[in-house]
Amino acid sequence: MALGRSNGALAAGLAALLTCLLFVCALSVAVGSRSIDLSGVIEALTGSGVDSTEQTVVRDVRVPRTLLGLLVGAALGLSGALLQGVTRNPLADPSIMGLSAGAAAFVVLGISFLGITELSGYVWLAFAGTVVAALLVYAVASFGREGATPVKLALAGAAVAAGLWSVTSGIVMTDVDALDQIRFWQLGSLAGRNMPVLEQVAPFLAVGLALALLCGRALNGLALGDHTARALGQRIQLTRLGILAAVTILCGAATAACGPIVFVGLVVPHAARTICGPDYRWILPYSLVLAPAILLAADVLGRVVVAPGELEVGVVLGVLGAPFFIALVRYRSLAEL
């Protein structure tokens, strides 16, 4: 492992990744089903353009979409890293822990019983569903003297996910309209989420990101095991609760905005760990930069491959992320957490 890598080298790597991210952001603003040349894009951004359609496309569609991709990607990457750290399980990701299932169940309930059909309505439902699922998982896992141990968290998460999946599938099997809407929502996409959706979730994402970035030292302590962490003076139950709160906010807001996008949260922390070793004070910032770069790159690719149509970013990530992830698993000795 890269235990001996110096802080200077890691900082330089982070700067390089940041450059990549900026490049991908630029691509995301410049590329789309409507071809606009580079000067047109720059004119539209600076407001000096004459063609109002191009200006609308760039300013009202692509820029919000890119911003959303940035925020959501960062949120997914960080929440995955936090979740794997706090459960000490390399498999923990928001979908396995029941959080996405909570969001999906609430969205389906809203569609079927409240007649909500607007994307902006889904946002609050998905957020509420994530919070409820997280509370349930944590409450069940923390019964007993030793509190929420990693194994109990993982099992409770899987149990809650399955229970909520029952709710979702039960409704979907009896309500064709709900099925028709949820089957698109659950692909996970950045498309069609314009400024209002971004404004709805941005405050939550900002708070969650700030909270998450403060967790590095605490995660390093937890990684040593409960006893050692306690011996080092950490209040582990409180720490776990704080970290899970950050995960819930991040994952809830991200799912609310885009639907369940799973691969990012699972893959990015592993990739980050391969680059910078087991120190969470570096894993977190690396995840923060790497995740949105991957999400946006996948989104751009989805716009290009079947143009003039569009492939949802969730599908692109699923298809392209898997080979990447498997290569990572095969050729790098990933750390057992």
């Binding site: 390399p90 409770a156 229970g163 089957r183």
Partner: protein, 350 residues
């Protein structure tokens, strides 16, 4: 010093008492689980549009009843569903707990590491792209599950397979396959999408006798085999090096046990679709009820109980008939949560 020596003398006796106590708990618990599964099986044959008293059902099952009406209802109408539920439950319970023990991770369930996802992709492709039905779908699912299992094993192979790498590869493959499934469902005609969802949720009692017979044969062959390998399994649970030290050929044993698990899950999925959660919870529930011994059989019985109970509720207690898979989560999840919560409160949880 004296008390220390006395403690040492007493230690073997205490150990023996503990062992006897554990074995008694395992045997009693397994018997109890068997009784629960049997009661649910009989209940499935008992209730329906016409009520048949349980004693008549039992008599008819064992061929002692002379009433042709009762025999017709029990054997022709209700037996296929009940037998399918029983077999699918046992297969998923045993298969799931084998995965968890061999790979040493409570999250190593077939629906999370790519076996069910392989079956789902081939079956959904059959439904959406080729408009197949019935046996063709079952065959596709069977092949898909084996294909998923083989792919994961091959990709995780690097001069040997570590459980950890296999699970990670499995999760990656699952995401890959499920992304394609979701894409197919989203692009399909809404009627095909509904049929696809129905299959994805999983339900008992829609398959033909051929599939059920295949599953029963697989069970008869594989479950005794799995139970016979229990000692090897317990050695593997200690970790690769300790297992090698006690004389287990780790790689071969792991491949054999995983192949058994994949086959059990594949045949069950061909009969009922990828019924969620049974394989995931059966092992942990059995383990927490019985302690560590004899969990494969107990897990099978827990699985059977969950599927039978889910099917009963799905078919009888709800205003609209729902596929069984809707309820396995609804019934299994609270139970697992309750087991986790209560046992933890006594301070025995892990």
């Amino acid at each position: 010093m004296n008390t220390y020596a006395a403690t040492l003398e007493r230690a073997p006796a205490a150990l023996r008492r503990l062992r006897v106590h554990r074995r008694r708990r395992a045997v009693l618990g397994t018997a109890l689980l068997g009784a629960v599964a049997f009661a649910l099986f009989v209940a499935t044959l008992t209730v329906g549009t016409t009520y048949v008293p349980p004693l008549d059902v039992i008599a008819s099952v064992f061929g002692l009843s002379g009433d042709p009406g009762v025999n017709f209802i029990v054997h022709e109408l209700r037996m296929p569903t009940a037998a399918a539920a029983l077999c699918v439950g046992i297969a998923l319970g045993v298969g799931g707990t084998l995965f968890q023990q061999v790979l040493r991770n409570p999250l190593a369930a077939p629906e999370l590491i790519g076996i069910s996802a392989g079956a789902s992709l081939t079956a959904i492709a059959g439904i959406v792209l080729f408009a197949w039905g019935g046996p063709a779908i079952s065959l596709a699912a069977l092949l898909g599950a084996f294909g998923g299992g083989g792919l994961i094993y091959a990709l995780a192979w690097r001069g040997g397979v570590s459980g950890y790498r296999l699970i990670l590869v499995g999760i990656g493959i699952t995401e890959f396959l499920l992304a394609l499934v979701a894409y197919l469902v989203a692009r399909a005609d809404i009627r095909d999408a509904r049929e696809a969802m129905h299959w994805l949720v999983g339900s008992i009692g829609q398959s033909g006798t051929g599939e059920l017979l295949a599953l029963a044969c697989a069970l008869a062959l594989l479950v005794p085999l799995a139970l016979g390998l229990g000692r090897t399994l317990r050695a593997l649970e200690l970790g690769d090096d300790p297992a090698r030290a006690v004389g287990v050929r780790v790689e071969g044993a792991r491949l054999g046990l995983l192949a058994i698990a994949v086959a059990l899950v594949a045949f069950a999925t061909a009969v009922a679709g990828p019924i969620a959660f049974v394989a995931l919870v059966a092992g942990p529930i059995a383990q927490r009820l019985l302690g560590a011994q004899g969990t494969a059989l107990a897990a099978g019985l827990v699985g059977a109980s969950i599927v039978l109970a889910s099917d009963l509720v799905a078919a009888q207690a709800l205003p609209v008939a729902l596929p069984t898979g809707v309820l396995t989560g609804a019934i299994g999840a609270p139970y697992l949560l309750w087991v986790l919560a209560t046992i933890n409160r006594e301070g025995r949880g892990g």
